[in-house]
């Protein structure tokens, strides 16, 4: 009986040594999952999720501090992608964070703009051009539609307009048929 106990004990000690060594040898620095989550976020940097941009939100998700349904610009697509990546169940968008809306871009009414540069400081992607006392303008192709420039503007000259629909961006619609579309659950 004693020998059996001792044998198991020694075996366990050996495995303990091995595991202790492995823990030091194979220590992973950093967290690659943050990059993967970040890659799925829409990068509007709008802060609607409650974090200061997409990457902080990604870090929070990875740490389990934030839920995956806090990104209104990404909408359902992003939630599904995140659920897939993290092996979670998709859930509906957190309504408190806002609604998934059509994509918009900011446009500055150049007649009204007084050139205060406040919006330039607010823009998370440096998509607004201009200098002090000069009229500003938004680079449409780089604007993420985050709406962060609207609040600082003292003269309310910025408005959000829907992205123009072009024949080249047109997408074939999902086929209409008698069948009800099924959820994206695989076989």
């Amino acid at each position: 009986m004693l020998t059996a106990m001792l044998a198991i004990g020694i075996l366990a000690a050996l495995f303990g040594l091995l595991l202790g060594y492995a823990a030091i040898r194979f220590k992973v620095e950093g967290d690659p999952i943050v990059d993967q989550i970040d890659a799925l976020l829409p990068q509007t940097q709008c802060g609607q999720c409650g974090f200061a941009g997409c990457r902080p939100y990604a870090r929070a998700i990875a740490a389990g501090e934030a839920d995956i349904n806090q990104c209104p610009p990404g909408g359902e697509t992003t939630i599904h992608a995140l659920a897939d990546l993290l092996g979670l169940d998709p859930k509906p968008l957190d309504a408190e964070r806002g609604e998934h809306a059509e994509k918009t871009v900011a446009v500055i009414d150049e007649q009204v703009c007084i050139g205060c540069t406040l919006c330039i400081q607010a823009c998370p992607v440096d998509a607004i051009l201009g200098a002090a006392k000069q009229m500003h303008t938004v680079i449409e192709s780089e604007c993420t539609g985050c709406e962060l420039c609207i609040a600082p503007c003292p003269v309310d000259c910025i408005s959000m307009v829907p992205v123009k629909k072009d024949i080249r961006d047109w997408k074939w619609p999902y086929p209409q048929s008698a069948q009800r579309p099924v959820a994206a659950s695989g076989e």
Partner: protein, 212 residues
């Protein structure tokens, strides 16, 4: 620093392993007798169904022999013989036999034979026959197995130790022939084996009790 952390892990696991296995060892010691008694009683119960307790006074559980058997097509492998004696006289023997002729896999049987050569009873211990068809050989499912009680090699005659479809006297069940046929053959061969050896079997020294 590094080595210390490794050593602490090892030591920790060692302590847990020793504690866990110590606890198990302790419990094992505590329960071992009771478990052995349970096992003995379980086997005795099934033996007593065939050879009632009042018919013998020896320790049937340890008074066993394991004999190699060959030349009997209905039986495969060695046969274990449980011997029942009263006042030192042989009363009956229970043969644990196995047949390979079932529909799927082996059938293990206990065949109890009185010293006069009549069947005291047959029970199926283990089988894998088709549920709903072949499993009627179980006592719990039907009374078919009781049909052997009191039979002997002369009753019926040897060539009629067979299912009805093959010209014998024993019923097959509707839809299944192979299973009852295998059981009938196994019982017949158990009788054939026991008949000429009934006395010599009781003279041998018992097997040493299996270490458990």
């Amino acid at each position: 620093m590094r080595y210390r952390s490794i050593l602490i892990s090892a030591l920790f696991l060692f302590l847990f392993a020793v504690a866990g296995s110590g606890l198990v060892a302790f419990t094992y010691d505590l329960t071992a007798d009771r478990i052995a008694e349970n096992q003995r009683r379980a086997l005795l119960r099934s033996l007593n169904e065939l050879v009632p307790e009042e018919r013998y006074d020896n320790d049937i559980f340890t008074d066993t022999l394991t004999m190699p058997v060959s030349g009997f097509p209905g039986i495969t492998g060695p046969v274990t013989v449980y011997r029942a004696r009263k006042d030192g006289w042989p009363v009956a023997a229970v043969l644990a036999v196995t047949t390979a002729d079932g529909y799927s896999g082996n059938i293990r049987l206990l065949v109890a034979i009185n010293m006069d050569g009549t069947v005291a009873g047959v029970r199926v211990v283990d089988h894998r026959e088709t549920p709903g068809l072949g499993d009627a050989i179980e006592h719990g499912k039907s009374d078919w197995i009781l049909g052997f009680n009191g039979r002997s090699l002369g009753d019926p005659a040897l060539e009629q130790w067979d299912v009805k479809r093959d010209g014998g006297v024993f019923d097959q069940f509707t839809g299944a022939t192979i299973t009852p046929r295998a059981v009938v053959k196994a019982v017949r061969d158990a009788l054939l084996y026991f008949g000429p050896r009934r006395h010599s079997l009781f003279e041998k020294h018992p097997d040493p009790p299996a270490a458990s």
